[in-house]
Amino acid sequence: MTIEVLDPKISSLIAAGEVIERPVSVVKELVENSIDSGATIITVDTISGGLDQIKISDNGSGINSTDSHLVFERFATSKLKTEHDLMQISTLGFRGEALFSIAAVSEIEMITKTSSEKLATQIFVDEGKINSTSYTASATGTMICVSNLFKNFPARKKFMKSPRSEASKITTLIQQFILCNPSISFELIQNNNRKFVSVGNGNLRDAVSTVYGVDVTSEMLEIIEDYNDDIRVSGLIGSVFQHRQNRSGISLYINGRLVQNRSLSFSLEQAYHDHIPNKKFPIGIIKLELPFDEIDVNVHPAKTEVRLINENKAFSVLQRSVRKTLNSDSLVKKVSIFQTKPDFSIQNSEISEFWPISKSNIEDNKSFDRFPNHKEFFSNGSSLKETLDSLIVIGQISDTYIVCEGYNGLYLIDQHAAHERILYERILFRNLNSDLEIQNFLDPFVLQVDEIQKEFINDNLPTIHSLGYLVEEFGNNSIIIRGVPKIISTKDPVDSFMELINNDSRKFMSVPSVFEKIVATMACHGSVRAGDKLEAIEMENLIEELKITDNPNNCPHGRPTLLTVDTKTIETYFGRR
């Protein structure tokens, strides 16, 4: 068999295949180029999900006419000069492969102009070869139009999905760009219909509302940063009432780059742990900024996978920040009586003399505030603890809910859920902090473990022991379990241990979920039921004890304990505002 160096034409096709998988990869590469060029307005226009045509135009710096033919060469880039630069990558692109790869598999028209030039350069490229170069009139910036994608790559073309599904991939991508770049205005046009356009005013909340809508966005919380020397966390996360069936609502950006990282998304889930129901996932737009030399993005040409040198630190900074944000929120679901505000303010303004609210106040209300101050809108500006402190019991309705007057409104407490929470934390505390109670096995279990599990067990042995698992090494690749915490001994004790050592991220979870489930059931059985009549003193005590729990807002099964109708809503309803 003879070995030959591949024909450049074939090798370029192979390389292109790696970067350009489907239309959405073209859009991704070109939009990243636009962002790197400093554009503030980027328009993406596709036909048939990009299979027929993809047109990206921006108002960025443009390319010099003398350099413009170079952009279609392999490893041609303006973003990297020396080897050292590779360690300090701040631009989205840098490998110099994108345009080269796109050009290899399609027809391209490019019009580009820098601010110092008078005329724009127009270049036509077909299968990687420049067919013609001419001058034309255009504004500063770059327009690239890619058509006939994969024309010389029939195998890849066969794998394309329907135009509709390719289009939806592009929509998702542009939404991700919007979330990541609030100061750039993105416009998405598909089959000549404008899908959406983002404001590009630099406000993350505005950007998020383009994607998730105003209703969802207004309830989201801004991350309160837990300061750390070199890791910065910012973004918006969903309130505890906003959760999804899957992880699709989690967008993670590291240094402005959308990335997938299981460990970090697990960190977010852990932060929400027992704030939201089991098997639900939080939503959030999380932006992490790390020193450039602490991450490696050069893992794969698509760059969605990154390696962090100090993953554990990022994990804990993110978790702490999110936890802090959630704890600072009052976490009380507000009831809204109307879908829209009744239109009192203008026509009825003359009646306002009879109302204890001045006319000018009403005038003020007319100015439509797209995003009411978040704190005021959602959480009355006070933390949950303060809110609970302010509660005065009025009575009980349906022998199920405690009615209270409190900070800025009316509060309802589900007596069962609240009591459940109190007992849950008390039992959990007793089992984790008081004397260890371990039930020994008659016939100890010998468990096969692999190297990773074994290392994990050895690293966490003190914690494992403190939970009440009597575990010892037993020969080469096995361990022996001699006893388990009494509380779970009648359930499936070995499974709970496996769960403990087998979570995806190899981060130690404090308590296995079987453990929590049993405690939750115990708490549920011990608590007052819906339908139990309570005396005032009992209700007051319930609130008193709820106050000292870690998570007063949910019962251990994730149902809420508290509901509020704030004074403002009541006033609005009665026409006083």
Binding site: L436, E437, Q439, N440, L442, D443, G483, K486
Partner: protein, 378 residues
């Protein structure tokens, strides 16, 4: 089918087979009872596939036939009827039964008996005979120690070993072990072993009345089913695959201290301690005391926030007693075994806080119960 029988007999028969009728099943026919005729007897059968119970009652058969009808409906109806003759009639094509008793009558819709799962036949293999009262006691003494959770399915069964003229029943749930050894009525040449679901054994125990004729049972040569004959009642139970842990190695051969105490004293002291253990973690602590003139057991428990209690009972203590002659148990495990031992005298053997404790009854020499201690801070 056209038959007549007495209300009392039918009611009793339905109560017996009703134990095997499935309460919830995705196979609706399992909620039915099968009524058929055989040699001038009315045959009732119920099954939930794990266990099948068949009983025969005396009846006047005018026309043979078979049908299955909802067990619950039939039982409830028959139970309310006066104690008199019931005439049962069904036409083969209509799949319904009419019942008449004095001036009450009912029509109940049934299903085709062909849909009813066939009951496995067990006719080969050695017949083993055990005295009914001894078998009943064995079940009482052993079955409660079997696991109720399915995490190790084999532990939800009872290991039965038959050897010449001895039989041994053993059950364990991972934390305790109960073993009962007894004699067969007639010795056999074979020796064999099998695992039977504890629930089936408990049903069999319940069906043993005051009758004194031996219970006979046969195991299929393939070891898949066992058939028990108790008077007029036949029970076929599935046997469990898998291998049971070697329980003999779990019974300690030695002990440091042996204590002989009155059972009712011991039971009462544990009950007292359980009151405190109930609100706490459910742990009963036992300390052996022997200070020359008085010897016995000190039994205590505490509830974190509520308080603690302690009681002492007299006992004969053997072996050297020191600070370390103490052991803690899950109060449920201790209470369970003391409950079945009834009264008389109990032997309690232990070595230390982390070695298994052993309980035996003076009046039941074949019985051994092993309980694993709890690890606690003293």
């Amino acid at each position: 089918m056209k038959i007549s029988c007495l209300q009392q007999n039918l009611s009793r028969g339905l109560a017996i087979v009703g134990r095997a009728v499935a309460t919830r099943s995705n196979l609706p026919v399992l909620q039915n009872v099968k009524i058929s005729t055989q040699n001038d007897m009315l045959v009732l059968t119920g099954t939930n596939l794990d266990i099948a119970i068949t009983t025969k009652i005396g009846a006047q058969i005018e026309e043979e036939g078979e049908i299955t009808i909802p067990a619950r409906l039939l039982t409830d109806f028959v139970n309310t009827l006066p104690d008199d003759r019931i005439d049962i009639e069904s036409s083969a094509d209509l799949m319904s039964v009419s019942l008449k008793c004095l001036r009450f009558e009912a029509n109940i819709n049934g299903t085709d008996p062909a849909e009813f799962p066939p009951i496995p036949t067990v006719d080969e293999g050695s017949t083993i005979k055990i005295d009914p009262q001894i078998l009943k006691e064995t079940v009482d003494y052993v079955a409660f120690a079997a696991a109720t959770e399915d995490s190790r399915p084999v532990l939800t069964g009872i290991k039965v070993e038959v050897n010449n003229d001895d039989f041994t029943f053993a059950a364990a749930d991972g934390f305790r072990l109960a073993v009962y050894q007894g004699k067969l009525v007639d010795s056999i040449d074979d020796n064999f072993e099998f695992i039977i679901p504890a629930r089936s054994m408990q049903e069999i125990g319940r069906l043993i009345g005051t009758d004194s004729s031996p219970v006979e049972f046969i195991v299929t040569p393939a070891g898949t089913h066992a058939l028990f004959n108790i008077g007029n009642v036949e029970i076929v139970s599935q046997l469990m695959p898998g291998s049971f842990p070697n329980y003999r190695s779990l019974i300690p051969e030695n002990y440091k201290n042996q204590v002989l105490a009155d059972l009712s004293d011991f039971t009462n002291a544990v009950k007292t301690a359980s009151i405190f253990a109930r609100d706490g973690s459910g742990i009963v602590r036992i300390q052996i005391v022997n200070n020359g003139d008085s010897a016995g057991l000190s039994i205590s428990s505490r509830a974190e926030e509520l308080g603690e209690n302690q009681g002492e009972i007299d006992a004969r203590v053997e072996g050297e007693v020191d600070e370390e002659s103490r052991i803690a148990f899950n109060n449920k495990y201790l209470a369970d075994v003391l409950d079945v031992l009834g009264d008389g005298e109990v032997v309690f053997e232990m070595t230390g806080a982390s070695s298994p404790g052993v309980l035996r009854s003076i009046s039941k020499p074949g019985y051994t119960h092993v309980v694993m201690p709890m690890f606690v801070q003293w």
